[in-house]
């Protein structure tokens, strides 16, 4: 994602809550400190399809908003 962002592509990372600090640190390491992180509730592994859909529904408006902002 960092490489996409550096190439001017609108990009964001979807990240569950315990991984937020790692995500921010990695964005800094790769030189894209403003790489957006879209946070979803943890966990992502070991959950059913309905819970996956819930997380997708949670993330989707944030992603659309970010895309609008990045393309503005």
């Amino acid at each position: 994602m960092a490489q996409l962002a550096l190439r001017g592509v609108s990009a964001a990372v979807i990240c569950s809550t315990p991984f937020q600090r790692l995500g921010k640190a990695q964005a800094r390491v790769f030189g894209v400190t403003d790489l957006p992180l879209v946070m979803i509730p943890h966990p992502l592994g070991g959950i059913g399809l309905e819970d996956v859909k819930q997380r997708a529904n949670h993330a989707l408006p944030h992603i659309l908003k970010l895309l609008e902002e990045l393309q503005a």
Partner: protein
């Protein structure tokens, strides 16, 4: 530039603090430059002494350590080696281990940041292992030997302090492992009936090597009863067949550490090391029925559809995808215990010769 005073004056390199052991240790803990145990303060004099066994420019990066991708220079590595309590003659082993871990096939980013409890197992082969007194005999993975304790700790401190594998920040391990403090041993070549690991991988016997393996802690194989090669190997294969090891879910390289007594029984049955690998490859398998339905559907059928899309509950899942993917080493002392060492997936072990910059084999007196 190999002038410790000049390097230490560069911004972000040196730090002036009172010469107070307790205060320096508190500072390291506060800043996250620690594994939680007391460290030896890396003064300029100690770091310089460590670097007497380094023939490279002290500020020239050897590798960029993930996930921070910070440059691992000899100077920084030496500081961590001092902190770990290493003797200067251990330093070439640490440099070789760091170089080995920077090979892309090792996947250091994954190894460092994963939720899995892996840590680099550092296996040393060749004459240097004996010269440095790296234990491969009784209690090889246990306490008591200075080289094992401090070489492994130096590498771990470098991975934290340079690489950024700070718990809950760059190291996301769910449970972690005591092997994240230190995990270093030599192969017990003297009591092995087979060619040592480095010779198997094409190095001359007189070359010393370091092999890094992203591994869990060892899981014991107790076998006091088998008197045949097939019996011992059946018990090892039985121990390997567990549903929770990453090795069943990924193409990976599990490790089997065979004690000298078990190795003698196996070799006495006419088994070469290649035979052992083939035997374990064929028998260390477990049926799909041992996995939860969710794992069968969501892991095996989707990840390996060519193997399991239509497979029934009797279909067998191997611990390794090829005989040579199983790493077999002889380790330990007297007793009827061997070990299965599960490993992380999406990584391969890397073996590197311990050499000077001009490729000369390092001996303990090289400086």
């Amino acid at each position: 530039m190999n002038d410790i005073d000049a390097i230490a004056k560069k911004p972000g390199i040196g730090l002036e603090v009172d010469d107070d052991f307790e205060r320096i240790n508190e500072l390291c803990l506060e800043r996250g430059w620690s594994d939680g145990l007391p460290i030896v303060p890396p003064t300029a004099a100690r770091v310089e002494r460590m670097l007497t066994f380094c023939d490279r420019p002290w500020d020239e990066p050897i590798a960029a350590l993930a996930p921070r991708y910070a440059p691992a220079t000899p100077l920084r590595l030496a500081a961590n080696a001092v902190m770990a309590g290493c003797r200067p003659e251990y330093f070439p082993v640490i440099v070789a281990a760091i170089e080995a871990m920077s090979d892309p096939v090792f996947n250091l980013y994954g190894v460092q940041a994963t939720t899995h409890p892996c840590s680099p197992l550092i296996l040393v082969n060749g004459p240097l292992a004996r010269e440095l007194d790296i234990n491969g005999g009784a209690n090889a993975f246990g306490p008591g030997r200075h080289a094992n304790a401090t070489i492994g700790r130096a590498v771990r401190l470098a991975l934290v302090n340079i690489g950024g594998a700070v718990p809950q920040l760059g190291d996301m391990a769910t449970l972690g492992s005591p092997t994240k403090y230190t995990y270093c041993a030599a192969e017990n070549e003297a009591e092995s009936p087979w060619e040592p690991l480095h010779v198997e991988h094409g190095f001359p016997p007189e070359t010393s090597t370091v092999t890094v393996i992203a591994a869990e802690g060892p899981h014991n194989v107790n076998d006091h009863e088998s008197t045949t090669a097939e019996g011992v190997l059946k018990m090892i294969a039985g121990t390997m067949t567990v549903t929770g090891a990453n090795n069943v879910f990924h193409v990976s390289c599990p490790v089997v550490a065979i004690s000298p007594e078990h190795a003698a029984t196996i070799a006495g049955g006419g088994y070469s090391k290649a035979d052992v690998k083939r035997h374990l490859y064929e028998r260390a398998r477990l049926p799909l029925s041992r996995f939860s339905e969710e794992n069968v559907e969501r892991r095996f059928r989707r990840k390996f559809p060519e193997l399991y899309a239509q497979a029934g509950p009797e279909a067998m899942v191997p611990l390794a995808h090829a005989p040579d993917d199983i790493y077999v080493v002889v380790l330990g002392g007297p007793g009827k215990h061997s070990a299965f060492i599960p490993t992380f997936g999406t990584t391969r072990p890397v073996t590197r010769a311990i050499v000077t910059r001009d490729e000369t084999t390092v001996r303990s007196t090289s400086r």
